[in-house]
Symmetry: C2
Subunit: 344 residues, 2 copies
């Protein structure tokens, strides 16, 4: 008998097809090659991108030359624009906001063929530092209410360039998915004076069956109501709303746990395309009294990372219902991911 499962944090139901229980080898993992002449993210092509806005490089290196380790540049084809005035306007029953924002590319390393889990832990930490520094810098701009960092790996997951990179989009409103999590967290906090994700984490640790990895400071698990097979969350044990508040030691350990998680996904699912998203608190620029202002943010929200392998199709049912059908129970996915041997 399949099960309908409800996630109180994302306010969403999923159908878990417990009987079918598709194994990793049952998924046809497609990885179409992305063809291109010259990669604009490789050494020597620094002039093919807009000038860098952040870089990790030796002090003697000149800007926009080779020699860097992590490089952040504006997206050449931005979804939202940094220049211009932020105008909020009503159009009858509709609303519109001028498309002000930032759209940046975090080039994770100079190595075209090395993906995030293939990099040394120390290098992964540098990518995380780039995430943090860009968030801190863009927050100074009071037009932005949210800064979303995500990674599309593989063409099937939406990547248009194969050189490993993450992306950042700053928006003048808080995106719906984040609002839903924030509202659920706030409601829980109002009732219990506890963080919802902290409570869910304690429960997952007690149940145990969906845990992939745990150390002193982080937990990796498959959520109870996983929308996708092998959906995986990386959650810090310490209650903290804001990723950008992580200190050096915390980033060190996060890099290690992230590498571990990505290596498991890569090995179990044969290097699948995936999307990874950093869920963190909004910027402090919303106004008190407005629906996107969260007074108790530091108490009720809890930053984390969500990853979904893109090995199933999203069809009319999912689009029309918001209800996903997941053919691999998270308990089984956790077992595969936990038991696999990975080499660091």
């Amino acid at each position: 008998m399949p099960e309908l499962r409800y996630d109180p944090f994302r306010v969403r139901w999923t159908v878990i097809a417990t009987e079918r229980g598709r194994r990793p080898s049952d998924y046809i993992v497609k990885r179409e090659d992305i063809q291109m002449k010259a990669c604009p993210f490789c050494y020597g092509h620094e002039d093919k991108t807009p000038p860098e806005v952040f870089v990790i490089a030796p002090p003697e290196r000149k800007p926009n030359q080779e020699g860097w380790e992590v490089r952040v540049v504006p997206n050449k084809y931005p979804a939202l624009r940094i220049e211009g005035e932020l105008v909020r306007e009503g159009v009858g029953y509709f609303d519109k906001i001028s498309g002000i924002g930032a759209h940046e590319v975090i080039i994770e390393s100079p190595w075209h063929e090395k993906n995030l889990p293939d990099l040394p832990v120390e290098h992964i930490k540098k990518v995380l530092i780039a995430y943090k520094e860009r968030i801190l810098d863009l927050r100074k701009d009071n037009r932005f209410r949210y800064i979303l960092i995500f990674k599309n790996y593989g063409k099937e997951a939406g990547a248009s360039l194969s050189h490993p990179h993450s992306q950042l989009i700053a928006t003048p409103m808080i995106p719906t998915v984040v609002v839903t999590e924030l509202q659920a967290s706030r409601e829980h906090y109002k009732r219990k004076e506890r963080c919802l994700l902290c409570d869910i984490m304690r429960q997952e640790l007690a149940f145990g069956e969906r845990i992939v990895f745990e150390n002193d400071n982080y937990v990796v698990w498959e959520p109870f109501a996983s929308s996708f097979p092998f959906e995986t969350w990386l959650v810090p044990k310490k209650h903290l709303h804001d990723f950008a508040l992580l200190d050096d030691a915390e980033l060190d350990e996060l890099a290690l746990v992230l590498k571990d998680m990505l290596l498991r996904i890569k090995k179990v699912l044969n290097d699948p395309p995936y999307n990874m998203v950093l869920h963190t608190a909004p910027t402090p620029h919303a106004r008190p009294g407005r629906p996107d202002y969260w007074e108790t943010l530091e108490y009720d929200y809890h930053w984390h990372i969500e990853l979904i392998p893109r090995i199933t199709k999203i069809a009319g049912f999912e689009w029309g219902s918001g209800l996903y059908i997941n053919p691999t129970p998270p308990e089984e996915a956790a077992r595969y991911l936990k038991e696999v041997d990975i080499e660091f």
Copy 2:
């Protein structure tokens, strides 16, 4: 300058990339063939499916033999099961419901190669009658709170068989996307004593620039905050919450308008894969006082059909934010769809 646009009915923002303005020919429309030996939906293979639960056929035809015009059968691999007890259970902070439901396939015609818009209007009406009759029948089962009818056309849109068919899934809870629309509609009704979608329709008709087609009883338009390029809605002018209340004359005309809409999409986008979803009221089996009970349903909800061509990829940004990036403004999409010559 791109625009962020808000849809008060679906409670969702979209980025409309007004500058790029991708034309239909800019989209690479993929249509991978679905290979199979013998089609279980063609004449002579009636024993390859579970026995039919509804059929439109001449009276002399025997059940589960050829000679039918529209045939509805249970899905051989159902996402939810019809047999069993409906159990609602708490699991700590989570909820679960046994996977009770119905999952049926509406085989639209015996013609393997003829898709919905290629059928005569009179035959399309028979498909709509099948939708209506299955909704009315399944509503008698008080375990079901919602009956979702949808169509995946093309492998890229999630179809696993190429013989034209729609699907139906009955669920023991109201799916999230529907709840969001219902809540927004109810809020609007509470304030104004008017239907939100009626108000939006009047406004779209006044603006005119997103209208694709209009006759006495139906309007087809591109929504202001279209999440996808060429997203298209078909909305009845008459306020009615429930598709299954349509009478014979209304179904006649709906068949005509639906054919018109699908032919336009097919011609402008070169026969793209798409998802189509019927949005209609929940069944009457929710309980008063519960969050999924809508006392004023017949006043505030408004049935309609939504269609999205699957010509763009859903990536990490969309998944992590709920915010879609649409590279073709709906005003331009409407112009293409309106101006195209179609042959009935």
